[in-house]
Symmetry: D3
Subunit: 169 residues, 6 copies
Amino acid sequence: MSSLDSLNHFNVLGEAHMVDVGEKTVTIRAALAAGEIVMAVATLECIESGRMGKGDVLGVARIAAIQATKKTWELIPLAHPLLLTGVEVELTPAYDPARIVCRSEVRCAGQTGVEMEALTAVSVGLLTIYDMCKGIDREMLLQNIRLLRKDGGKTGLWERDQTSYPPSA
Amino acid sequence: MSSLDSLNHFNVLGEAHMVDVGEKTVTIRAALAAGEIVMAVATLECIESGRMGKGDVLGVARIAAIQATKKTWELIPLAHPLLLTGVEVELTPAYDPARIVCRSEVRCAGQTGVEMEALTAVSVGLLTIYDMCKGIDREMLLQNIRLLRKDGGKTGLWERDQTSYPPSA
Amino acid sequence: MSSLDSLNHFNVLGEAHMVDVGEKTVTIRAALAAGEIVMAVATLECIESGRMGKGDVLGVARIAAIQATKKTWELIPLAHPLLLTGVEVELTPAYDPARIVCRSEVRCAGQTGVEMEALTAVSVGLLTIYDMCKGIDREMLLQNIRLLRKDGGKTGLWERDQTSYPPSA
Amino acid sequence: MSSLDSLNHFNVLGEAHMVDVGEKTVTIRAALAAGEIVMAVATLECIESGRMGKGDVLGVARIAAIQATKKTWELIPLAHPLLLTGVEVELTPAYDPARIVCRSEVRCAGQTGVEMEALTAVSVGLLTIYDMCKGIDREMLLQNIRLLRKDGGKTGLWERDQTSYPPSA
Amino acid sequence: MSSLDSLNHFNVLGEAHMVDVGEKTVTIRAALAAGEIVMAVATLECIESGRMGKGDVLGVARIAAIQATKKTWELIPLAHPLLLTGVEVELTPAYDPARIVCRSEVRCAGQTGVEMEALTAVSVGLLTIYDMCKGIDREMLLQNIRLLRKDGGKTGLWERDQTSYPPSA
Amino acid sequence: MSSLDSLNHFNVLGEAHMVDVGEKTVTIRAALAAGEIVMAVATLECIESGRMGKGDVLGVARIAAIQATKKTWELIPLAHPLLLTGVEVELTPAYDPARIVCRSEVRCAGQTGVEMEALTAVSVGLLTIYDMCKGIDREMLLQNIRLLRKDGGKTGLWERDQTSYPPSA
């Protein structure tokens, strides 16, 4: 937790605004986020077998995640529009518990960071998996959506202390 | 987990398509989803005090969540466009751990369900909170985004077994 | 002014929601809105001559107005998505003062009205004229954007009392 | 009125195009626009009391106005996409006549101005107020939507002559 | 060519409007469109090998095509918003000349047809292939984008006379 | 066909990503694309007469084409968002066969090219003509949508060899 004591999306009257970043330097910005969708073992097996022979759940989710980064400024009211220069999304099956882990890295040169773009990519990628598998498993659960690393800007590199928050982080 | 053994977003060749729901009956559909963003105690206190006097983090997040329901078909590649008739979003501060709990209920009359709309509302509402508070707490964590209940359609009412998946569900 | 005494976009806790219209009857809805952009005489002459021979300011504004009706639910946070069945936009030059008058009529069959769609069409049509003419006249002024008539729904036909609010209405 | 005698959104054949601004210098751009929605006294009282205890009409309208600046290039056919760096929206109740005054200031570093973004913010903010209050007052009227000031670009600072156009400007 | 002698997207003054379809009956609508992208043999081989082992050009294009059907009303100014119930997209490699053939079938229950949705799906699917392969083949060519069949509405079934227009149709 | 032998929209695992262009130099980018819609002679005559007196099919199509350039990054999953600085669209009637030829030139200063924006403009412009004329001619055919020239970036100027691909190119 930083030493700041106020939320800078509000002005002195407490009214929301889009923070003026016009004075900030243009630097290379990067952010890495991750999260997972926990599911029944049978659901994961279905996705994995589908990847081999038929349906490509993870391929569709990857595209949805990439496209979501470009819509972040539409979804998050006070986010700034940004010209993203690169997006990578990785979707990895894992067991115990059965889940798909999504990681997304976003980069741009800009006056504000791309944390929200990376987190939005992860969220929408996982929601797309939910959508494609909900016919067989309504109990799936999105978990641990979080920022792992960000770089650029005045505060420079930040990395999550992987021991600080619990579960499968 | 249902007895179905295939993912109906893929045809017999395993290629993604938007499932034809044209033969389904139009019924009243409803879905209730929930999730939470876990944060430092100081962050939650900052949000709560802001709500009283100045900045309205939860008010902005509620609007973002409502609007996201209307964009679900744009975000989720194989989701159908739907005419939502009602959306409610509830954002509740809680402690141990410090967090904001988001619940969203979505309703429409249609040929397919609104589960994705409710889950998208919760996700975007929580991401908006992250955006507005990230200046003071980058370690916030989205948790337990899940469907609690859905009604309508051929399968009718379904309610989550609240004992099945762990944490604060 | 109706006899209602509360704003139905808020629930009992005063939190915004998208009002549930699921119980309302589907009826034919129509709304007619109008407004104008007041400008220098030379600007209006430029638009009018352009219409004859070269540039079609009003043709572009008409398209922008029609398209805006389809984006109303994206712009107005608590508006419902609707399946519009028809949109007409009329742009008429007038003098004393020099201005373009925009009128838009929108129709649909639905559970809620199309007043916002008609008003949004007028606003965006007039803004488009501003955009195309601002190079020669920054002082243009949008005026008198208002609902003239609405029909359908529980309250049926309503027509504006043209004597109630002043100017060129 | 400037000394230019043609509309630069049209080429020599009078066909609309998106004006090429590629040769223009990148400068800091700012624009301030304003407008108001005139309403019944009882409606304004309802909004004001709601602000205190329950529903936050102005909070929702402020968010809608901010988001609209990011959609201006979608709404106005020949507007250029821009990377806005800051947006502020102010909504102030006033009496005689009863109204909410909206002012919006938008900033970016770019090759073209942000006048349309500021005017679109004001228009959508006022339309959102109409939407939320139309259940009790259909006669509300959007008035005096205009540019007050713009800065940056080749022509530099411009300020509206507040005496030139009439009413409550 | 039908016996109609006027374009119904214009009113009697020749001004564009969104045709009112409110009086039309709701019927099941379907449309099948097709088109192709002609390319160098080496490009096609690269796509085909990619499909087997690595990159899935056709999988990404299929998703883009499906999503484009949901944005047709945004792209085509006078198109009506529609609630699509099903979309299928088929992408088939062919030789002599080397090409990918795209076919898309769209269905809905509505008051107007889905021809534009099917044609837009084909166009965007082929453009996506162009995008993903342009690094190795800028000369690719989109060809023969056309309606093959439509059903529903007052005019009922229509099928293209496959002998009427030439090439590889 | 270039000497590259792989599709750079896929990483080494064959998974789609948005290629990182952050290391590329910002240069002036331009692209010129073209295509045509072939139609019955009577349809073309109807468009041409309409242009003179009443409906402006080509005016509406031009606006749709311009606006589509600004939505290219939404339509094409792996396309980068770009700040376009200029767009021109030309729609020219021609005979033998009867057709409208669409050419579009797009420009920006950026780290990646605008080929997709120019091709998307042409496609959407032609689709809009189809939409407005389909009531009298369902057999219209989009043909020869292709890149004619691009400039800027590491590879600099490229011009299509007009003899390489057949028909009316």
